[in-house]
Amino acid sequence: MTGTSKFSGVSRRNFLVGAAAGVTAAALPSWGRVAHAAGKNHLNVGLIGFSVVNTLDPQKAALNSDFWALSAMFNGLMRILPDGSVEPDLAESVSQENDTTYIFSLRKGVKFHNGEELTAEDVKFTLDRVLSEETASPNRAKFEAIEQVEARDKYTVVLRLSVPSVPVITHLHNGVTGSQIISKKAFEDMGAEAFSKAPVGTGPFKIKEWRPSERLKMVAHTDYFRAGEPKVASCDILLIAEETSGGTAMLAGDIDLASTIPFADAPQLEADPNITISRMSGANWRYCALNLSKAPFDDVNFRRAVSMAFNRESVVKAAIFGEGSPMQGAIPSYLKTAYATYERPVCQFNPERARAEMAKGKYGEGTEAVVLTWGSGWWKRWSEIFAANINQVLGTKFTVEVTDANVAFQRYKAMEMDCSNTGWIGRMELDEYIGDCFRTGASRNFYKYSNAKVDELIDAGRAEFNPVKRGELYRMAEDLIVEECPVIFSFNNNAHNMWRTGVEGFVPTPGQHLGSQLGPVSVPS
């Protein structure tokens, strides 16, 4: 090491070693790139902010990420167009015998990934499976109105409902629904467990390999019933848990298309000429759920006071970097028939009215409450701003408790809390925003809100076939709910997608059901 021999020039041996090293170093990146990009005509899709896809069995799936991934391999009887309208997908047409009987005529010649033809038996098998106690499907509640599924002939399915229900029909789309049609034969041959890892559907892509918490490898289903789709030979869905990595992966070209973007990084990504970002008011809502059965949120005046003391604009600006808009109800603007375009005073920031409202009720200055939240991202920021905001206006003593998402949900479900910020994304059916959350005894009504008039309006809305009248009924219900503030209606965040220049055919939707949108997407060859 002390260097006894010194070179006056470069020896032949050293030259050769150096040259070999140089060539290797130069060649390495190209090898890596080849292995990485898996060749031409391949689409890499990023699910940003998610680390888990728990199952590929649609009837068992529950998480948004489950559905966003698996929907690439399936179809529903219906589908939702980007403008929000519902049309038949695997069904060719839908007709009604009466208010509670629907007849679905299936498309002929639709092939599953295993080559079998789709028949009414597959549809019956799928829907029966969602409803069966044995399956324990987390999606069962959506289809409870179904009394009987009948395969009338090879291509005709008859759905008999116990009550007239429009939501049941919407829930037959390929979204966060659990009604994606599976192959009966494949399921019976494989068994539930094997099927959940390598499902057989009719969608544009079929499974090649599932690497849990890493990526889903799929190849084109060449017999897909929509001619010319899919446009690529293969597609990987990558789970990118770290949001910033989603941005850098897009900038570096390691992914071509992505769901969601990190709110904070939006301006930087937008500035890159190789990246297109789409932005629209999303099919989602965020709210602060209140424990209505104990102090201080058992008092309607106090709840109204909090709602009017809450500056929604500031949360949208600071917590989600302006990527959203304040809400004065549960219904997002994308559901146009029901969205309230007029002002609701109880959801407007007005410190004086808020204090006056508080004075009418049981609780005053110094009232304590804990805002339950989780993680370290914008959920936490939202909660902190919310608490500080209310304290400033009302002189209350709201504090924030941070835990992890699992504990927060568990305590929220059991109402072991004062209040908790929550919300969801990607729900397309009006009833999910009102009926599921505010009807007496409904599946998401953990705060046990109950109002007979609201229930009546919701039931009427579920049975109303005219979309305009239906929207009106839900909006009337929402009017009543908002006056009582069982939750603090907060904001809606933008639905984003981003893709690299050259990616074509992708149509963004408010629901962001990424997998179901991949069929028409092409990449530059």
């Binding site: 090491m1 002390t2 006894t4 390495l28 990146p29 090898w31 890596g32 790139r33 080849v34 292995a35 990485h36 890499n44 680390s51 888990v52 896809v53 728990n54 199952t55 069995d57 068992k60 529950a62 998480l63 106690e133 324990a136 499907s137 987390p138 069962r140 509640a141 539930a192 467990e193 959940s196 890892k197 599932w210 690497r211 849990p212 918490s213 890493e214 990558l238 990118i240 848990a241 770290e242 910033t244 990595s245 850098t248 992966a249 900038l251 570096a252 390691d254 992914i255 992890d404 998402a405 699992n406 504990v407 949900f409 568990q410 929220y412 479900k413 929550t422 599921d436 599946s443 998401r444």
Partner: protein, 347 residues
């Protein structure tokens, strides 16, 4: 020993060492070594058994519910009850523990419930272990090579410019947070030069060259702080050993500098060096979650974190056991290496 003290010292070193081991195996000391191994392995087994109980209890103590992780917040009570029944979570704890433990005894680590429902945990581990080991070895090699040169140069040229440079570089390495360095590397090599990917990893079993390239940035990000620590330890140990009497004695015999360095200084300085490497290797297997996240490497560490967030008991327990086995294994190997390096033992 003295005859092979020129450029072929390394080869000679091996010959001498193997001859030493062979001698030991023939004689009474071989028996001693085997006994030592048996005692260590027995101790390891006891530690693993205690660890298994501890991990199981710990997982049950933390609040949260796997049913909520898997079914989402709007699952009905019936759904939750059915989920618990299907996955055996409704059984009494001792029964669950017994099922788990007897499963492990037969090589069955149970099934995932919230990470990849129904997927055997063993299969998940087999998918991820090569990635974790590959990145760990990759980072370790980079760190050892860099620190070997930096530490040696710093010690041999103490007080000179090269010492200052090497020492400053290692302090820089130690003080740069690995996640920050990761983004700097991405900025330069992925977004700037465009030669290395920013996200996505190829399993070494699928493509070794792909893994080398895709793993380069994360491996370097992990290696930099380690190299800093290693280099400083090596430098300190070398300086300490350099002043020893036996080194002066060796010099006075007229041995070449290289020979004295390799046989008298370097070899003795290696003991703390190897010990520190051993300590750091433990971190490499489970502690690189942030790097795994940034670069999208499906490793054991991030699997355990995902499992913990989802209350996937079987996954977390299996990962913890794997880490335990790994740590015990590394400890044993480090002790054996140090024993062989220590001249007092071999002579």
């Amino acid at each position: 020993m003295l005859r092979g003290c020129r450029s072929d010292w390394l080869l000679n070193e091996f010959v001498v060492r193997f001859a030493g081991i062979a001698r030991k195996m023939e004689g009474a000391s071989a028996l001693g070594f085997i006994w030592y191994l048996i005692i260590r392995l027995g101790g390891a087994l006891v530690t693993i058994a205690i660890g298994a109980v501890f991990v199981f209890i710990l997982m049950q103590l933390i609040p949260g519910d796997p049913a909520i992780a898997a079914l989402g917040e709007n699952a009905t009570d019936e759904n939750v009850a059915a989920f618990r029944r299907i996955h055996g979570l409704d059984q009494p704890l001792p029964v669950q523990f017994w099922i788990w433990l007897s499963g492990i005894a037969q090589g069955d680590f149970g099934k995932s419930i919230t990470l990849a429902q129904g997927y055997p945990v063993w299969d998940l581990m087999v998918q991820r272990l090569p990635n974790t080991l590959f990145i760990a070895v990759y980072a370790l090699v980079i760190a050892v090579v860099i620190s070997f040169f930096a530490g040696s140069i710093a010690a041999l040229r103490q007080g000179r410019m090269s010492d200052t440079a090497a020492t400053s570089a290692s302090i820089l390495g130690i003080s740069m947070p690995d996640f920050w360095l990761s983004y700097v590397l991405i900025l330069v090599f992925s977004l700037g030069l465009g030669v290395l990917p920013a996200f996505g990893f190829t399993s070494p079993l699928e493509s070794f060259s792909g893994a080398l390239v895709n793993g380069a940035l994360p491996a370097f990000a992990i290696a930099a702080p380690m190299a800093g620590v290693f280099a400083r330890i090596l430098r300190a140990a070398l300086l300490e050993t350099k002043r020893r009497d036996y080194v002066t004695a060796a010099r006075s015999f007229g041995f070449r500098d290289t020979f004295v360095y390799m046989h008298y200084i370097f070899r003795n300085a290696l003991i703390p060096f190897v010990t520190v490497i051993g300590v750091q290797v433990r971190y490499l297997v489970g502690g690189t979650v942030i790097i795994e996240r940034i670069f999208g490497i499906a490793g054991l560490g991030s699997m355990m974190v995902d499992g913990a967030f989802g209350r996937d008991f079987a996954v977390v327990q299996a990962c913890m056991l794997a880490f335990l086995v790994f740590v015990l294994g590394v400890n044993l190997i480090v002790d054996i290496i140090c024993a062989f390096l220590d001249p007092r033992r071999t002579h």
